[in-house]
């Protein structure tokens, strides 16, 4: 598992060059804390003392600046409408850039091509899901109601999957792009974000290994429902939501099964112990005395 998996993630930097982003761990096990005297001198000249200034060697790839990030986000947002025509590809990004009046060379900012568009869409959908979840929690608090985990999770997954529906004609291509090995880590991170957000807002307080089992099982439910969704032809995808409900029930019954097994195990082992105690007492039973045959 990469270090960023499972922790809440803001949108990832998409410009990772040869040196990797500066926010990754340096080999000394600490963090990049080169705030030397020289850096302070430069920061005075540039008159931006609030911004963090770091000196970078020529060989290290610097992180993208805020301006670069905003530009990329704008281009990707403008490219989404072209997905129906060109799919999740560089062509769509070029079309999006040109629609904003930028030269087509801008696609060079996106080395991973169509995958960048997929990740952008995924991350934006995740943000939308998070605000939906926050709002739901606030509403329930105002009405002073407790969160019912089952329906809450069902609604959350349904909401998130419905965001795919406008692009469902090309979504199978997006899913295929995500399974490519070079995109696998980012896809895993995105999926982890979804399940972590859902569990967090549902009120999960686990701090041990349950943290993993809960998220793992929910990720499996989400993924299998997503796969069902792309081939569903029912009215308003009701078959998919029924499928989702059944998968969630499976998870709940698996939890009950685990608990029952544990209880059965306890009962059985207590029984076995009792049996052993009983057997160990057999030698202490006095032998029945034989009637004296010589008594006549």
């Amino acid at each position: 598992m990469s270090t960023s998996t499972g922790d809440r993630n803001p949108p990832q930097d998409t410009s990772s060059g040869p040196g990797g982003s500066a926010s990754s761990q340096t080999s000394n096990g600490g963090y990049n804390t080169q705030r030397t005297g020289q850096g302070a001198q430069y920061s005075d000249e540039l008159d931006n003392s609030e911004d963090l200034v770091s000196e970078v060697e020529e060989e290290e790839m610097p992180e993208e600046t805020e301006e670069e990030y905003q530009t990329k986000q704008a281009v990707l947002k403008a490219s989404l409408p072209f997905v129906h025509q060109y799919g999740w590809t560089k062509k769509a990004i070029v079309a999006g850039a040109e629609s904003l009046g930028m030269p087509s060379m801008v696609h060079g900012m996106f080395p991973r091509g169509g995958a960048e568009l997929v990740f952008y869409f995924y991350e934006e959908s995740n943000k939308e899901l998070e605000s939906f979840l926050k709002q739901k929690v606030t509403e329930l608090k105002e009405k002073d109601e407790k969160i019912k985990t089952g329906p809450f999770i069902h609604d959350a997954i349904e909401t998130r999957l419905r965001m795919i529906i406008p692009y469902i004609d090309k979504w199978p291509q997006a899913m295929a792009i995500q399974t490519l090995p070079q995109n696998a880590v980012q896809s895993w991170t995105n999926l982890s974000r979804v399940v972590d957000d859902i569990w967090f807002y549902a009120g999960d307080k686990s701090n041990d290994f349950n943290w993993y089992t809960k998220r793992g099982s929910l990720a499996a439910v989400y993924k299998s429902t997503e796969i069902y969704l792309i081939q569903d032809r029912s009215e308003d995808y009701t078959d998919t939501w029924n499928f989702l409900e059944n998968r969630l029930e499976d998870v709940v019954s698996a939890g009950h099964l685990a608990r029952n097994l544990q209880e059965t195990n306890t009962v059985l082992s207590e029984g076995a112990k009792g049996f052993c105690v009983m057997v160990s007492q057999v030698p202490t039973i006095p032998k029945p005395t034989e009637p004296n045959r010589n008594d006549k």
């Binding site: 809440r8 803001p10 804390t33 540039l46 770091s54 992180e63 805020e66």
Partner: protein, 187 residues
């Protein structure tokens, strides 16, 4: 050399990663320490040194509860190796306790010295990042570090250095702890 300004976004991401790493590894460490003492009590519980170990275990339990709360509060992923540290800690505690009271104390001294240094380097990292923002956490870590050093001294007082193969034992345990810390920070 060129100067690039890191965006606020990236700076926040750095801080978040630092905090997650610190809280994750500290929770694992306190669980491990708690289990080590539990193992020692399983063997030496009825001896005169039992109550001393029991007291140290209770302090570790307090530390563990603090980090359990922080994991939920700060939305940190706990390490996936928790079940492993659970078993390994108990085994280490019981194993060294079987070498006698001196063995148990030697284990305590080795573990606590590694943990003390580790807390210190974490406090340094937090101060470098943002002393104001992390004031609460720095205070907590400082208190815990002082507790751990107190345990370390208690171990020395109770004849840790008289343990069989003290130097070798101490080294092996220290290396093991450092490895466990490295793993828990990442996995």
């Amino acid at each position: 050399m060129s100067i690039r300004r890191i965006s606020q976004r990236a700076k926040d991401e750095k801080t978040r990663k630092l905090l997650s790493r610190i809280i994750r590894v500290d929770q694992a460490g306190e669980l491990g320490a708690d289990r080590i003492y539990a193992g020692q009590i399983a063997v030496l519980g009825n001896t005169p040194v039992g109550p001393i170990i029991q007291e140290m275990k209770e302090q570790e339990q307090e530390h563990l509860e603090t980090f359990n709360k922080l994991i939920v509060e700060k939305r940190v992923r706990p390490t996936a190796l928790l079940p492993l540290w659970n078993i390994a800690g108990f085994a280490l505690g019981a194993g060294t306790a079987l070498l006698g009271k001196e063995g148990a104390m030697a284990c305590t001294v080795a573990v606590e010295s590694v943990i003390g240094e580790h807390y210190n380097s974490q406090i340094r990292d937090l101060m470098e990042d943002d002393p104001e923002k992390h004031k609460e956490l720095i205070k907590k870590l400082s208190k815990f570090r002082d507790d751990e050093l107190h345990h370390h001294d208690t171990g020395l007082e109770h004849d840790a250095e008289k343990a069989p193969m003290y130097d070798a034992l101490s080294q092996v345990i220290k290396v093991g702890c450092i490895g466990a810390i490295w793993l828990s920070e990442r996995i």
